[in-house]
Amino acid sequence: MSTTLQEQIASPERGVKKNYLNADHTIASWLLTTDHKRIAVLYLVSISIMFFIGSIAAAFVRFELTSPYGQWLTSEQYNKMFTAHGVVMIFFFLIPSVPAVLGNFVLPMAIGARDLAFPRLNLLSWYFFVIAAVLMLATLAMGGIDTGWTFYTPLSSLYSDTQVTMALVAAFIAGFSSIFTGLNFVATVHKMRAPGMTWFRMPLFVWGSYATSLVILLGTPVVAITLLLVLFERVFKIGIFSPELGGDPVLFQHMFWFYSHPAVYIMILPAMGVVSELFACFSRRRVFGYEFVAFSSLGIASLGFLVWGHHMFLSSQSVFQGVVFSLLSFMVAIPSAVKAFNWTVTLYKGSVHLTTPMIYALAFLGLFLIGGLTGLYLASMDTDVHLTGTYFIVAHFHYVMVGGGILGFLGGLHFWWPKMFGRMYSEFWGRLSALIVFVGFNFTFFPQFMLGYLGMPRRYHLYAFAPEWQFYNVLSTAGATVLGVGFLLPAFYLTASLVKGKKAGPNPWGAKGLEWENADSPPITENFERIPIVTGQVYDYDAEEDSRLIRAELDDHERRDKAHLPGEH
């Protein structure tokens, strides 16, 4: 290994520079790679495909709802569509999106390591993901499932005659794929940090990923075994969750939500980490209250395990239980608010650059705020009785999952894209599509708050009994079309940038962080020529310096303009 490094140092300019992408071109070198950066690229391709498939299912759902009379799909088909949308988007896009793509690529570099702690386990994680994804797609091709992504018993265990068994196996395997990633991150953050990289010099993205990994390690095994029990119940008629067999379906809900509420944080915490990086870089300031933001990630991760009962206010839970879960759910809003306030204060007196990633970050802040605050309506028991199971819930979690999770992912992808592939994308198209996503998103999901308030139940495909809901539904579908365009555009201009984009250079954003300051774009296979030694604080930006530079540049322009003027006359 040391010889290859020396070769690179000795002859850096023999034609093209060596990096992780051109190190080897065979297909086997990709499929058998243990390089965290290549695995991140593999994940990026795979989850993009899954996102596309999940979006098509969503398109069917939205299209069906433009009419109150359920004209195009049967109830059965509609059930399968929204289930396909939920299962694919949650298990195969949102959960792996930020950790497995951006985390895989950035986390080892951000702490100054040559790779994750267990590279082969990392590759295994991708293979598990692919096997699970293929199984899930086969499930959909063979007729799909109609249980909803929640797999509630006894529908999923005794009644549904769709392909639930196979879907459960797929979800089970996908769970292990994310456990492997989480395990890797925890070991890496604990043991692989470069000299001088103390815990409080770690970028907040690393903190977010670390907290997420803890949630994955503690939560995923529980849902895995729960789904396995449902599987046994279907196949062997073992009775643990089904009342006919003497079991308790509410126990399933407890065990399911014990994972699936924290799963929300698996989707949002890493995205929060991403936008912390974006706010710091594009405001040219250290994130305000860095320690608080770091600890709030751990606070969310731990409190997040104690609130699952808010999904079950109406499932035979005692009032006392309900009150406790309600209170705890309110408390989990505190660390989230700490983050939101600190990001906002970071902007204050910062030197704000409205680049594509920053637009995503600002959109994230606004949408996550709405998503989070509407969560409080649902956390208080009396409003929840009215709103639960309506489109209010649907709108709420899409504001968090899409407005938070996906926008964070897209922001991070645009931020680290030059690092991943060494090319800049078109900033014009980047900003434009960010704006389209923001506008389309709000048109899609804000009307759903109205629908929920008016009482439209989720998972219904006809509402002939209340045709006045059609206006909001058509509005939402129109918004979804715009949103779809916004999501599709990056596929084009990002791909185009690989060929036509101008060379990025090691640090196109002038960002702080080991991956920017100590590595090339794209990085070499070993990440760094020598392991960096960290001496400074994290986010060592200087907003004043930055604005002075800009002012100097403007003055320079002015002077040149003045100098040109007399000559032209």
Partner: protein, 223 residues
């Protein structure tokens, strides 16, 4: 010269992402503990289900547990505890680089693991014979034994799932221990690095520990 060769062999067993052997070893042990944490959560969910139903059907569970043979279960506890002891010895001998002793201890551990599975399969066979496996042919003669047949179904469902999952862990343990033995026997260098054995040891003690909880919860339910 010999000292130099030795130093090289240590360096060779350090993967490129680590700076030192010590860092690699610490990371592996930490990774193993993190993995065991996920295992605890996985079994924990099952123990929760058990607790809920035992709490609800206290008296029934006493009746059902009489169908389980506490002597065979006790024998299995002894077998598994001795295997854990020999596993601990294997780690010890590996640390002081005694190859033959390490291999013998691992072999004994494996033998015990096979013994455990053999006894377990006798027990399972009995249950199948008496239609106590909770599939379609499940029969619970309430007139003869008392207790609610539906609750009996839950009891035996949990029994088979929990001991079955534990049995699968024992089986995986046998595979892992066998692989480890082959590696140590073939690869003379591995004797300088005891971390793999220590990791397998941690796993095996965990498997043992799960049984230590399973045994009293199923076989020794008080009236």
């Amino acid at each position: 010269m010999a000292a130099h060769a030795h130093a090289e062999s240590i360096e060779d067993s350090v993967y490129f992402q680590y700076e030192t052997l010590e860092q690699q070893q610490e990371t592996y042990i930490l990774g193993m503990w993190a993995f065991l944490l996920t295992e605890i959560m996985m079994f924990g969910a099952l123990f929760l289900a058990y607790t809920v139903y035992r709490f609800q059907y206290q008296r029934d569970f006493f009746i059902f547990h009489e169908q389980l043979d506490w002597k065979l279960g006790g024998l299995n506890t002894v077998v598994l505890l001795s295997s854990s002891f020999s596993m601990a010895l294997a780690v010890h001998y590996h640390q002081i680089k005694k190859k033959a002793a390490t291999l013998w201890c691992l072999a004994f551990t494996n033998l015990c693991a096979f013994g455990f599975l053999a006894i377990k399969s006798i027990e399972y066979g009995e249950k199948f014979k008496h239609h106590l496996f909770p599939n379609d042919s499940f029969v619970w003669d309430a007139a003869l034994h008392g207790g609610n047949p539906e609750h009996a179904r839950i009891f035996f469902s949990l029994y088979f799932v929990m001991t079955g999952l534990h049995g699968i862990h024992v089986l995986i343990g046998i595979l892992v221990i066998t692989t480890l033995m082959v590696l140590i026997a073939k690869n003379h260098r591995l004797i300088t690095d005891y971390i793999p054995t220590e990791m397998v040891g941690l796993y095996w003690h965990f498997v043992d520990l799960v049984w230590i909880f399973l045994y009293p919860l199923y076989y020794l339910i008080p009236k």
